[in-house]
């Protein structure tokens, strides 16, 4: 007897590992990015040449801040998953591949967090 059920023991052992979840996350982030990036491009085009005060006012409006947060999460998640696929296709040494994947993940987390905190700072400090 074991604490683990037979299903739990084999889950993730196929050659795709947790590939289906990766695949779905890539498609769902892609789908959510369609409206989010269209909104973002239209907004940024309208903000061309905006000075400091008006840019902060735009970011600090709650609806914009909320949409920016959704955009940031979706973009960094999507980009991280995407770069992972590219790295797995072209980098063959296990060590180098692992290093690139770890750096990609770390960068996505750090950059995403920096962007999120900036939006939150502007939102709450006004």
């Amino acid at each position: 007897m074991s604490l683990r059920s037979p299903l739990g023991r084999v889950r993730g052992l196929g050659s795709a590992k947790e590939g289906v979840g990766h695949w779905w996350a890539q498609r769902l982030t892609a789908l959510s990015l369609v409206p989010l990036t269209l909104w973002f491009c239209a907004s940024v085009a309208g903000l061309a040449g905006a000075d400091y005060a008006s840019f902060r006012a735009w970011v600090g409006a709650p609806v914009n801040a909320g949409l920016l947060i959704l955009l940031i999460v979706a973009v960094f998640y999507h980009a991280m998953l995407g770069v992972q696929v590219v790295a797995e296709d072209y980098i063959h040494g296990e060590g180098r591949k692992l290093a690139v994947l770890l750096i990609t993940k770390a960068l996505a987390i750090v950059l995403g967090l920096a962007a999120l905190l900036s939006v939150l700072t502007i939102l709450f400090r006004g």
């Binding site: 498609r27 892609a30 789908l31 990015l33 369609v34 990036t37 269209l38 491009c41 239209a42 940024v44 085009a45 309208g46 903000l47 061309a48 040449g49 905006a50 000075d51 400091y52 008006s54 840019f55 902060r56 970011v59 920016l68 973009v75 960094f76 980009a79 995407g82 770069v83 590219v86 950059l111 920096a114 962007a115 905190l117 900036s118 939006v119 700072t121 502007i122």
Partner: protein, 133 residues
């Protein structure tokens, strides 16, 4: 008979990549270009959160000639990747695999990407001219 020096197929110096292959690698290349573009997005937001001087520095870099060229490239990359991404999503649910359909959607993606890019830049310059708010 020598078999050593025969051209391999596809021999990249004499082989014109078909449209569908170019569109396919284009999705990957624009995805990577956009990923590098996120550095600019983060810089811009962090600068705005930091203060007026930092924001002015970022704004000056973005509106320089090189900044604008990069931004234009990223706009085109984003709209290409977006439109072709929708094409990918239709494939994922099983539509558009007929060769004729794949070519038609490919051309449509190229046209839409160029049109959306121009629209965004006309919009941007109109906002710039219409009194900088």
């Amino acid at each position: 008979m020598t078999t050593q020096n025969r051209p391999l197929s596809p021999h990249l110096q004499v082989y014109r990549l078909p449209l569908l292959a170019l569109l396919s690698i284009g999705h990957r290349l624009t995805g990577l270009a956009l990923t590098f573009g996120t550095f600019l997005l983060v810089w811009w937001l962090v600068a705005a959160a930091t203060g007026p001087e930092a924001y002015a520095t970022a704004q000056a870099a973005i509106s320089s000639v090189i900044g604008r060229l990069l931004l234009f490239g990223w706009t085109l990359a984003l709209f290409y990747h977006l439109c072709n991404g929708i094409r990918h999503l239709f494939w994922d649910i099983g539509y558009g695999y007929e060769l004729k359909a794949a070519y038609a959607s490919g051309w449509a993606v190229l046209a839409a990407a160029v049109a959306l890019t121009l629209l965004a830049w006309v919009w941007g310059y109109a906002a710039l001219a219409g009194g900088a708010t």
